[in-house]
């Protein structure tokens, strides 16, 4: 089952998703202990190769690795020779020569983690690439929903916001569909990809219709700095049309939960009073992120390419 790398949820089978979620559930128990560290990956080295700034995801991976006793090495743009114009693949090869047991990659360009995985001996884990995928985020969202609702199969999940530019949306669409949920996406027409319905989701430009009877409402972060004025007339108008508030949440099921990958633009995609309290589960998502990434590192770190070095294409 489980392949050597974790690049995209699109590549995974339902059985893979279930195995990762089950492992993450077991890892959660460690988070409730006084001593949260186990010796599982002792002597293993995991490199965090972040070409794009990230605090939340990088910290989550770092805590996850440390709880498994791996040595976590940060290699980020500001502190590396990337500023000396070394090519991405050269950087990756240099790191690979140091024989890490896994490399966690984030890059602003879609496809870079896959390219790096093709040249490296170590397993590669995608921590977000451009508008392609962010698999560990989707997996931690699946874990959160499974625990809140006791299942994923048969649920209705509405993802609201900038679907075009969101790797979180893409990974979640694949993840929830594979686990048997109905997935809806909603946003201004400029933020809905053409032919998104070919993925098996229903697209809406009306929030009310998208939320009707939903079990899970997932708001995406609007990238204010990049998009304001380009894809919608004003932030205020977006907040009024697609912002999730206690009022708009009435369209969804009474026990619907609200999710957000963070960081939240309060008062834009999510009303102020929703960000911190039930039915929002944003802090559970963060907590689950550590357990989920522990599961991924446990399942992948230190595993060799099938057939050893000679198995390389």
């Amino acid at each position: 089952m489980i392949a050597r790398d974790l690049i995209a949820v699109e590549d995974l089978e339902r059985a893979d998703l279930e195995r990762i979620l089950e492992t993450a559930e077991r890892m959660q128990e460690l988070g409730r202990r006084t001593v949260k560290k186990v010796p599982t990956l002792r002597g293993r080295t995991i490199v965090l190769l972040f070409f794009e700034p990230s605090t939340r995801t990088r910290t989550s991976f770092e805590i996850a690795g440390k709880r498994l006793s791996a040595d976590m090495i940060n290699f980020s743009t500001s502190s590396s020779s990337l500023s000396k114009h070394e090519s991405i693949l050269d950087t990756a090869r240099t790191l690979d020569a140091m024989q890490p047991d896994a490399v966690v990659v984030r890059h602003s360009v879609a496809g870079v983690p896959k390219r790096i995985a093709d040249v490296l001996d170590s397993p590669v884990i995608n921590a977000g690439d451009g508008a392609h995928e962010h698999p560990t985020q989707a997996l931690l969202d699946l874990l959160t929903v499974q625990q809140e609702k006791g299942r994923i199969d048969g649920l209705t999940v509405a993802i609201v916001g900038d679907i075009v530019h969101s790797r979180v949306a893409r990974s979640n669409i694949y993840g929830f569909l594979k686990m048997g949920a109905e997935v809806r996406v909603a946003g201004p027409p400029t933020m809905l990809p053409a032919a998104i319905e070919t993925l098996g989701v229903k697209a809406f430009t009306s929030l009310r219709e998208a939320l009707d009877g939903a079990d899970v409402v997932m708001a995406l972060r609007i990238q204010l700095e990049r998009l304001a004025g380009a894809l919608f007339p004003s932030i205020r108008e977006y907040a009024e049309t697609f912002g999730i508030s206690r009022a708009t949440l009435r369209y969804a099921k009474d026990d619907a939960i609200v999710m957000h990958p963070g960081p939240v633009n309060r008062g834009v995609e999510l009303a102020h009073d929703l960000a911190d309290r039930r039915p929002s589960v944003i802090l559970d998502q963060v907590r689950n992120g550590v357990a989920l990434r522990m599961a991924v590192l446990y399942l992948l770190a230190g595993r060799e390419r099938a057939g050893g070095a000679e198995g390389r294409a």
Partner: protein, 206 residues
Amino acid sequence: MANDYAQPPAPPPSASEAAASANVVLDDTGIRRALMRIAHEIVERNQDLGRLYLVAVPNGGVPLARQLAENLRQIADADVTVGILDTTLYRDDLISRGERPRLRRTEMPSVVDDRIVVLVDDVASTGRTIRAAMDALMDFGRPRAVQVVALVDRGHRELPIKIDYVGKNIPTRTGDSVQLRGEDGGLEGPLRVVVVPAGAAEGGAA
């Protein structure tokens, strides 16, 4: 068809046939008797039953620890907590190739500090699982003492680990597989301990 009797001996049994013909070395009655005797030995050895904490190594240790707790209630009116401690993350054989083993549930309902922890496992052999369980236990606290129950001790110790309470000693060859089984493959209903001879589990590769 008429020549059947002239055929050479049948090939070794397949995995499923081997499972069906596996040698039962301890049946449900035998297991119950052993667990009752062990409960008596635990009472005999430990004056302060209030400190007892039965910690099962999953999966096989779980039904055994529950039965031991029930026996201790019957014979000594002792209310003993049962915990479950998965040892997978403490194993010393997480090989680099192939899939990682499945994690099992850990449930430790009470603090370990100052308790007399009795680890309960189904089959003791190399001692590596008990070693892993002790390391895991120490991460939960500082027990006053640790003792070990094994329903079956099959020998082949590789570490200096002593089993305090043994249900039955069963001599085996290294490659044999000794398993606690219930009905339909799980650990429900009547239990039995079987020995699957070396090679049989792999479809008669020997």
